[in-house]
């Protein structure tokens, strides 16, 4: 039984209508995720960015093993929203199938596990359940309110007591995935002047002086590596790196938010913040 995180980005949804996503594959079910304390995203709505007072357009939502039903309200102020949830799949399931009941204009961009995003429209949908890479985790960095000034730098650190190290990575080894991606949140031109990535540090020079420029999203991977074999002889070979530390200098930008895997996002500050691998 594997628990795969799934993110559904709905857009161009009609007012006062009922949308549903029904799973047809036996052995696959929507779920609230693994029971790992309260750090998990679970079933959530618009929770991938922090501090954003988004308008709501839904009037009710219901989740069962096989169906996700959303009703939009008649006086909806917006037509897009994001749900994050999990898919429980038994080990023999390699792909899931189902159908969406949506208005004809509506689109759902589905990010299943570490796979490439797929776009679903009204009708049958299907998605391959990608294997979960052991030593890679997806990280999403969200630079809010980008503004020209000192470059934004995001640093990665591991504790010296941990049995390994971590580095930035562009893609998980041996899997078809979405890799490294930089985009502006609403599809406007990117306002990046420079971008440099070293093993432990990302530096982004912002090239806009507009006060309300679109937020930047950087999707990439964290990779954990074991320490050299000489150091592993003391019996710690079985342990893997569990915690990483992240900090950011946000320059003139409003905030930098990081989300690792399916954990809840956190603001990055100049002090180190802890994330679990």
């Amino acid at each position: 039984m594997a628990v795969v995180p799934i993110v559904l980005e709905f857009s161009r949804v009609a007012k006062d209508s009922s949308l549903s996503l029904t799973l047809l594959t036996a052995g696959a079910a929507w779920s609230l995720g693994e029971d790992v304390g309260d750090g998990s995203m679970g079933f959530s709505y618009n929770a991938l960015t922090l501090g954003e007072m988004r308008q709501s357009c839904i009037s009710s939502v219901e989740l069962t093993d096989s169906v996700l039903t959303i009703r939009t309200s008649a006086n909806a102020a917006t037509d897009s929203f994001t749900f994050a949830l999990f898919l429980d799949v038994s080990s023999e399931v390699e792909a899931v199938q189902g159908y969406c009941t949506l208005n004809m204009d509506a689109r759902v961009v589905c990010h299943l596990g570490y796979g490439v995003p797929s776009e679903w429209r009204s009708g049958i949908f299907s998605a391959i359940v990608p294997p979960i890479p052991v030593d890679y985790r997806r990280i999403r960095l969200n630079i809010q309110g980008p503004l020209m000034g000192a470059p934004v730098s995001i640093e990665l650190m591991t504790e010296s007591s941990e049995p390994g190290a971590a580095s930035w990575s562009f893609a998980a080894e041996g899997s078809v995935d979405s890799g490294f991606r930089v985009r502006a949140i609403d599809g406007t031109p990117l306002c990046i002047q420079t971008l440099s990535i070293s093993e432990r540090k990302i530096k982004v020079g912002i090239g806009t002086t507009q006060k309300n420029a679109s937020d930047l999203l950087i999707d990439m991977y964290l990779r954990r590596v074991d320490k050299s074999s000489a150091e592993k002889d003391d019996g710690s070979a079985m342990r893997k790196l569990q915690r990483i530390l992240l900090r950011a200098d946000r320059g003139a930008c409003a905030a930098v938010i990081a989300q690792v895997g399916a954990q809840r996002p956190q603001y990055l500050t100049t002090a180190y913040k802890c994330f679990y691998f």
Binding site: M1, D16, G27, W30, S31, L32, G33, E34, D35, V36, G37, D38, S40, M41, G42, F43, S44, Y45, N46, A47, E52, M53, R54, Q55, S56, C57, I58, S59, S60, V61, E62, L63, T64, D65, S66, V67, R71, S73, A74, N75, A76, A77, S90, S91, R264
Partner: protein, 204 residues
């Protein structure tokens, strides 16, 4: 009918409203400890009664984990699934409400029981059809978190609680002047105060 389980079925009695059925013949259930052991013999008299669909208690599908050739894990196998309704009242605009289960009791929020078909987790604005004034919500196994973007007169969250215990407890963190009622099938508690309060609700 339920006495058919006899010694091996253990917990099932006819006058008890809440029943916990073993997943399949030959599994013995301790009432609280959730200990599961396979019995060597499972005669016809030991067979548990198939629960009817009106019951709200349930257990996970043991046949599936058996098909994978794995030993079923006790904590996966046995629980009561209790429907719970939470009603949030008069939440202010741009405020947050949080309901967290205590970490020490082995209870978790869930989206149904194993026989659930169309009823699971639901969030509903009141009156029906009104916009759900939430900028974000998160429901995971331990926590329900809501953040409003407008004043929200009333909001229902219905979901299931999976536990073996006869009651569950937790904490609620409500915004100023906000209210919360937590209702199980047999018990209810109402919290109307600013800040952090703890609660306990009987289940059976």
């Amino acid at each position: 009918m339920a006495e058919a389980c006899g010694e091996t079925g253990g917990v099932v009695t006819t006058d008890e409203k809440w029943r916990l059925f073993p997943a399949k013949p030959g599994i013995d259930i301790g009432r609280k400890g959730a200990t599961v052991k396979r019995l060597a013999s499972s005669g016809a008299a030991d067979r548990p009664v198939i629960p009817d669909r009106t019951l709200t208690s349930g257990i996970a599908d043991a046949t599936r984990s058996d098909a994978e050739g794995k030993e079923p894990q006790p904590e996966d196998l046995l629980f009561f699934a209790h429907p719970i309704e939470l009603t949030f009242y008069s939440l202010r605009a741009n405020s947050e409400a949080r309901v967290t289960l205590n970490a020490d009791n082995k209870a978790r929020w869930a989206c149904g029981n194993p026989r659930s078909q169309l009823v699971g987790v639901s969030l509903l604005a009141s009156p029906r059809g009104a916009t759900l004034c939430l900028s974000t919500f998160t429901i995971n196994h331990r926590e329900i978190y809501l953040a409003t973007n407008q004043a929200c007169p009333e909001l229902y969250v219905r979901l299931f609680l999976h536990t073996l215990e006869p009651a569950f407890s937790g904490r609620a963190d409500l915004p100023s002047a906000g209210g919360l009622t937590i209702e199980s099938l047999i018990d209810r508690t109402s919290l109307v105060e600013r800040g952090l309060s703890s609660f306990s609700v009987a289940l059976r």
